[in-house]
């Protein structure tokens, strides 16, 4: 086979991996949309905020240091030790102790960040959406735009606006085994980033866990009930408020996972919040209410935009990745407005 075919395949695989990222963000959207009908524009910013918080905790940044310094004329920025180093074993520790220290140094900040996302979910529900029950969808949507910009500013104020590296010890660089094996088999070595492979595995685990949770747990059953009919859910004793805090929490934790993956790959920076916009066409494709749809939609968009750029990009002057996803979504909207997996909307006339 000619190298072009292999190269296209490789492009496609890389596209799939990028698609995993979109899918992760889209997943957070779907969860909230299904349970509350709110289109959460802030999902991407939540990923950013989670990643910022995680870096801050790992590195021992003092939160709100700019503000503190401006008010008190101090010059604080870091604690003597970040959580990563706090748990690190001293010189000469045994292999096991050192390993344990490294794991705790990552795991504890990750869990703390998850806790922060849960508190955020609670605050968002308590301070904003509780007061907007029964409002038109466009109003709820506007509220999430407000939330997105607030959270962006708040993250900035809390942790600073500089680009930060996020290292939680995930493997990076080209997967050499894959390259060697494919080289031996096809005479063409595929270049796939280890981090992308990890992201794909994590996303798969996340989706399976979420599916099991929603199918077999008590909360999962309540969650599906709320997604289906609010009145009926109330009548069987489900607190809508509780369920909404729950889904925002889950969406926050999904955002954390997306933030970790994206941050490890490209650094934690404000452009991270822009992937939220790519989740939009993903949702158009997959349907707003389908978890499998979010995944498949993400993969199709990721793959499609890379392949399109590869084949058509050179003919039209490149940079097709900026618009391809949206145009594809537009085509889908025209021919299948409910998305690939969404329920068909039949208007009774």
């Amino acid at each position: 086979m000619p190298d072009t075919v292999f190269f296209a395949l490789e492009v496609m695989l890389n596209g799939l991996m990028a698609g995993v990222m979109y899918a992760l963000v889209a997943l957070g959207f779907v969860l909230i949309y299904k349970a509350s009908g709110i289109f959460n524009y802030a999902q991407g910013v939540m990923a950013l905020f989670a990643a910022l918080t995680l870096v801050g905790l790992l590195d021992g940044q003092v939160p709100f240091s700019h503000l503190i310094n401006a008010i008190f004329g101090t010059d604080v920025h870091h604690f003597p030790s970040g959580l990563r180093d706090l748990f690190a074993a001293g010189e000469g520790a045994s292999g096991f102790t050192a390993m344990l220290g490294r794991i705790l140094g990552i795991l504890i900040p990750v869990l703390l960040t998850a806790a922060v996302m849960v508190v955020l979910a609670w605050a968002v529900q308590k301070l904003v959406f509780r007061h907007l029950v029964g409002q038109a969808p466009i109003i709820l949507f506007m509220a999430t735009i407000g939330l997105a910009y607030f959270l962006e500013g708040f993250g900035d104020l809390m942790w600073g606006s500089d680009i930060k590296a996020l290292d939680v010890g995930l493997p990076k660089g080209i997967n050499e085994t894959l390259e060697r094996v494919t080289n031996e088999a096809f005479g063409y070595g595929f270049f796939i980033d280890n981090l992308d492979i990890v992201a794909a595995i994590v996303a798969a685990i996340l989706v399976v866990t979420l599916t099991l949770y929603s199918q077999y747990s008590r909360q999962g059953r309540a969650l599906r009930a709320v997604a289906d009919d609010h009145q009926a859910a109330l009548s069987v004793g489900i607190s809508l408020n509780y369920i909404w805090v729950l889904v925002w929490s889950i969406a926050g934790i999904v955002a954390l996972v997306a933030g970790i993956m994206w941050g490890s790959k490209s650094g934690v920076q404000f452009s991270l919040s822009l992937i939220a916009l790519k989740a939009l066409p993903v949702l158009m494709l997959g349907g707003f209410t389908s978890i499998p749809g979010a995944i498949v939609g993400g993969l199709i968009i990721g793959m499609g935009e890379k392949l399109f750029e590869f084949f058509i990009g050179p003919l039209v002057g490149g940079a097709t990745e900026n618009w391809f996803a949206y145009v594809l979504a537009l085509v889908f909207l025209v021919f299948r407005p409910q998305g690939l997996f969404g329920e068909r909307i039949i208007e009774r006339v």
């Binding site: 747990s217 008590r218 909360q219 059953r221 309540a222 599906r224 009930a225 997604a227 289906d228 009919d229 009145q231 009926a232 859910a233 109330l234 009548s235 069987v236 004793g237 489900i238 607190s239 809508l240």
Partner: protein, 274 residues
């Protein structure tokens, strides 16, 4: 009920089942903007009885049921439950107190199977939370099994074995009504509120539903508050009847008393025979 009744005496049906006051509505007034849906209505529901609310369309029957179940908050009046004044509650809190209901316009979880729908009725009775559920998987499984057994009994009782796994959205109207009743029963409620459970059914379906309602009341001793349009059905089923018209109470008593009440004949029966 009567303390002096000799032990060997066979109690009448009413003596056997009617207990003390379970729920009391005191001077309830409910307004929607300028519209008065309920005007200063008081009545009580006693343990073990079938208490019906009747009246022409728009009389305020559903509104009253919504006040009892916490969906509507009255501007005036008090709700007393089990001898204590009930503070203002959200519908889900009312449900957790042991008050289950069905809706006039059916509110089911269309995407879920019949079985899953009925299982949601048991959410208020499930003890194991998420943390415990993940830590003690075995215990949670045991609890789930127990709930499943109860639900299967209700499914047998309402004769809907054949549709256990069917998504509710695909069922015909009459069966949906039955599933909704099943879900309410699954909560093992102290008080069951039924809003026109037989509306839109054919004669056969109505007869089945009547039988189920009587059996629920008889076998489980569940107190039932029933809204129904069909006068014949109401008179057959009910122990006591409240009659409403234009948001006001115009009659209250046993079916016989209500039937003889001139205001009721004028307002309700007159309208019904138009």
């Amino acid at each position: 009920m009567n303390a002096e009744t000799p032990v060997e005496a066979i109690p009448t049906a009413d003596d056997r089942k009617i207990g003390p006051v379970l729920m009391e509505m005191k001077h309830i007034t409910l307004r929607f903007g300028g519209v008065k849906a309920i005007t200063d209505i008081s009545f009580d529901i006693r343990e073990g009885e079938i208490r019906s609310i009747i009246g022409p369309n728009g009389a305020g029957k559903s509104s009253m049921l919504n006040v009892i179940s916490g969906f509507y908050v009255p501007q005036e009046g008090e709700v007393w439950f089990r001898g204590a004044r009930r503070p203002q509650m959200k519908p889900y809190q009312v449900a957790r107190q042991g008050i289950a209901r069905t809706f006039q316009n059916i509110a089911l979880f269309d995407g879920m199977s019949v079985l899953d729908n009925i299982m949601t009725g048991r959410l208020t009775l499930m003890k194991t939370g998420l943390a415990a559920q993940s830590l003690w998987w075995g215990k949670a499984q045991r609890e789930e099994t127990e709930h499943r057994e109860k639900v299967e009994k209700i499914i047998d009782f309402l004769e809907i074995q054949a549709i256990r796994k069917t998504p509710v959205g695909r069922l015909p109207y009459g069966l949906k009504k039955r599933v909704e009743l099943a879900r309410a029963l699954a909560a093992e409620p102290m008080l069951l509120l039924l809003d026109e459970p037989m509306a839109g059914m054919n004669v056969e379906e109505k007869e089945d539903m009547c039988r189920f309602i009587l059996d629920v009341n008889d076998e489980f001793g569940t107190t039932i508050c029933l809204i129904e349009h069909d006068m014949g059905v109401v008179m057959d089923l009910s122990d006591r009847v409240v009659v409403m018209d234009y948001g006001k109470k115009i009659g209250d008593g046993t079916p016989d008393e209500v039937r003889g009440n001139q205001a009721v004949i004028d307002a309700y029966l007159g309208v019904a025979h138009d």
